[in-house]
């Protein structure tokens, strides 16, 4: 597994907030938001909603019978001449891929962007074996050279300015300084073209795995997915076990949702459908095809009725773009493979709440993620569930905060009835006296100091509403109003 830095959420968020280059790149998320809105308008809102609804139904039913569809998928991949490996965890998955590489004497692996392969940390694993893994999606290539984690599900190098990319290319590739983005892409194209032609193995993800036909579907714009699944002698595809869909025709529901939500495109430049290795009468294509299906904690989510819907995710990234928190703190703060709102659900679910406790709490629960999600996944609801697991859940998931728990017990007593409630108000109004300045408080002790550092806090009213009601209980004479 790649390095886990979920515990550094706050300092890394702070770093991003105080980095103007990063803030500038995060401002560009507005393009994604606008693109999505325009694409849906063109598609038609009503038609969009129908697709969304159908997609969710398909996901619900597929996951309800996940064992069945996985069985069908693997049977059909094998019928097409491919091999299927079911991996409980990333270690098993990595070992399998390594075994395939070893058996084929592989020296170079070309990779097409895949979140699951990030989750596996397969690149580091291959390097450890003396095999060269090369990311071929431009964004992914940039962060591979920079030795960083992807910043965004569909735009891995979102945070890099062209100046930074140019510097990086100069330093690692020895290319000349370049300020033109097309030229920068040209440099990568040239380097990668050679890698494509010399690689012995191609690795791709799978946006969908079609059970009925044993087909994996790869959605790309650059063409690297096609390269990786056409040129090398061996093609290894990796997918999370939740990515299976029953029928080919289901793609007509999912593809329009995916590309429009992700980049606002009607469709990507390429959608490649690969079924097994090259067949006898084909002119080219891989001689071996392997599909690795990964669990790695997903079955835990499947077993939890409240978290299961996180597995409906099609990784479009729309929730990241819509999220006010992601839009300020960026991707690295989330500390693992999946950033943003969906990451805040998936990461603690897979890694465990104690090491990723910040993530479910670092959300305003504004609901923008749910609003844009093409599958209507209720992320805020799941964040609340994870929060409650963190404070009150069973041992192992629980990681309560003592002071806060004490305060909550106090609060609970306070709201247990109007008398306590009134009394608490009175006490607070006495306590606040030395802190007050006009009608507002400018300084509160921790943990409330976080608020008053940059915001005034209102004083508790001298006479709360409960007390005021007694004088208001009888409405003014009707005549008063009629005489207006």
């Amino acid at each position: 597994m790649p390095s886990i830095r979920t515990k550094e959420f706050t300092p890394r968020a702070s770093e991003a907030i105080n980095n103007p280059t990063i803030q500038e790149s995060l401002d560009r998320l507005a393009n994604f938001r606008q693109g999505r809105a325009d694409a849906i308008a063109e598609f038609g809102q009503e038609r969009w909603d129908e697709h969304s609804k159908r997609a969710r139904e398909i996901k619900e039913k597929t996951l309800d019978h996940l064992d069945h569809y996985l069985d069908l998928l693997s049977t059909n991949v094998e019928r097409a001449g491919g091999k299927v490996f079911f991996a409980h965890d990333t270690q098993e998955a990595n070992e399998y891929v390594a075994g395939v590489a070893r058996a084929n004497g592989v020296k170079t692996v070309i990779k097409s962007k895949s979140m699951v392969s990030e989750e596996m940390g397969i690149s580091d694993y291959l390097v450890g074996m003396g095999i060269e893994p090369v990311e071929t999606d431009l964004g992914e290539y940039i962060i591979q050279l920079a030795k960083e984690a992807p910043y965004h599900i569909i735009a891995p190098a979102l945070h890099k300015s062209k100046e930074e990319v140019s510097e990086l290319f100069q330093r690692v590739l020895g290319s000349p300084a370049e300020s033109d983005i097309t030229a920068l892409a040209g440099i990568a194209r040239k380097v990668l073209r050679e890698k494509f032609l010399q690689a012995d193995m191609g690795m791709t993800g799978a946006n969908f795995g079609v059970a009925e036909t044993g087909t994996i579907v790869m959605v790309t714009n650059e063409g690297n997915g096609r390269m990786s699944s056409s040129l090398p002698r061996v093609h290894v595809a990796t997918m999370g076990m939740e990515r299976v869909i029953p029928r080919l025709s289901d793609l007509s529901t999912f593809l329009p949702l995916l590309t429009r939500s992700a980049t606002g495109q009607r469709i990507t430049s390429y959608v490649a459908f690969a079924t097994g290795p090259k067949r006898r009468n084909e002119e080219d294509g891989p001689e071996e095809f392997h599909l690795v299906i990964l669990d790695n904690g997903r079955s835990k989510m499947l077993a939890d009725p409240q978290l299961r819907e996180a597995l409906y995710c099609i990784r479009c990234g729309a929730c990241l773009n819509a999220c006010p928190v992601y839009s300020k703190v960026g991707g690295h703060a989330y500390g693992w493979v999946y950033p943003g709102p969906i990451g805040a659900v998936v990461t603690p679910s897979i890694l465990g709440i104690p090491i990723a406790k910040d993530l479910p709490f670092a959300s305003t629960l504004c609901g923008a993620c749910r609003e844009v999600c093409p599958i209507n996944i209720d992320i805020p609801r799941m964040l609340l569930k994870l929060r409650s697991d963190a404070t009150e859940g069973p041992a192992g998931t629980k990681k309560p905060d003592r002071i806060e728990s004490m305060m909550m017990r106090g609060w609970r007593m306070t709201v247990s009835g109007p008398r306590m409630f009134g009394l608490a108000g009175k006490i607070a109004s006495i306590l606040q006296w030395p802190l007050s300045r006009n009608k507002f408080l400018r300084r509160l002790p921790p943990p409330l100091s976080g608020w008053t550092k940059s915001r005034d806090f209102p004083k508790v009213a001298a006479k709360p509403f409960h007390a005021r009601w007694s004088t208001m209980a009888i409405p003014p004479e009707k005549g008063d109003k009629d005489g207006k």
Binding site: R412, F421, G450, R455, F457
Partner: protein, 251 residues
């Protein structure tokens, strides 16, 4: 609209911090001939506990809420997020009490945010309010009111009908203000980064008043507006609307 009755759920934060909002709400409702009562046993809806992950506390408070408002025909609150707690979260929070299922279902369908109640239930188009001097007002869409309750058109309609009030649209009005309950205290730097963007839009709107349907969001935005000595003042929609009624409030 004779014979309308509503129970006021004033919410804990309005009760303790902003009782004037409660008074303004009563004034508005009475102006529209609604018979208002105030169940004195009320305290809080449980949102604070729910938000912080204190599920068991939230459940206890929610149960209490169900009992307190059992006899109320209609419940009106000057807060979109508290109504959301009832509307969106109570069914899940009280799932362990099947005997309350029907009560909860009924309760969530008769609990309304103020502007929602006025426009959707009462059919009010114009409350007949008139401001003493021309005022530029920006409306901020509070997240829960907007996304859980579908409150967007209703407050705008009420505001637009006020004499002397010019309603201006904020850029990205539907973006969160960065409050998020415990979030604003746990992650103050992120919260402020989000809030400052919002305040930039308020500033450039040239508004005199920033209004919203949630006292807590206004407390958040207003707290920073005051600290930064901004021109615009925060004002809850109930107070703003009521201030233009005959014998207007001091607001």
């Amino acid at each position: 609209m004779p014979g309308k009755k509503a129970s006021l759920f004033v919410t804990c934060s309005v009760d303790q911090f902003y009782p004037e909002i409660g008074e303004a709400t009563v004034k508005l409702l009475r102006h529209l001939d609604v018979e208002v009562d105030f169940p004195g046993e009320q305290t809080c809806c449980g949102q604070v506990a729910l938000n912080g992950g204190y599920h068991s506390h939230a459940v206890a408070v929610a149960r209490r809420f169900v009992e307190v408002f059992r006899g109320s025909e209609v419940i009106v609150a000057p807060s979109g997020s508290c109504v959301t707690t009832v509307f969106t979260h109570y069914p899940e929070l009280l799932r362990e009490f099947p005997e309350l299922k029907d009560d909860v279902e009924s309760l969530r369908n008769r609990t309304f945010e103020l502007s929602q109640y006025l426009v959707d239930i009462m059919g009010v188009e114009d409350i007949g309010s008139s401001l003493p001097q021309p005022t530029r007002v920006a409306y901020h869409d509070c997240c829960h009111a907007l996304r859980d309750l579908g409150v967007a058109r209703q407050p705008r309609q009420l505001l637009q009908a006020v004499d002397g009030l010019e309603l201006v649209e904020l850029t990205d009005s539907t973006n969160c203000c960065g409050f998020g309950g415990t979030f604003s205290v746990k992650y103050p730097e992120i919260s402020m980064a989000i809030l400052n963007e919002k305040l930039g839009h308020v500033e450039s709107s040239g508004a005199d008043v920033l209004t919203a349907v949630d006292a807590s969001c206004l407390m958040h935005m207003g707290g920073a507006m005051r600290r930064q000595s901004m021109k615009a003042r925060p004002m809850h929609i109930a107070e703003l609307l009521a201030s233009g009624l005959p014998g207007g409030t001091n607001a």
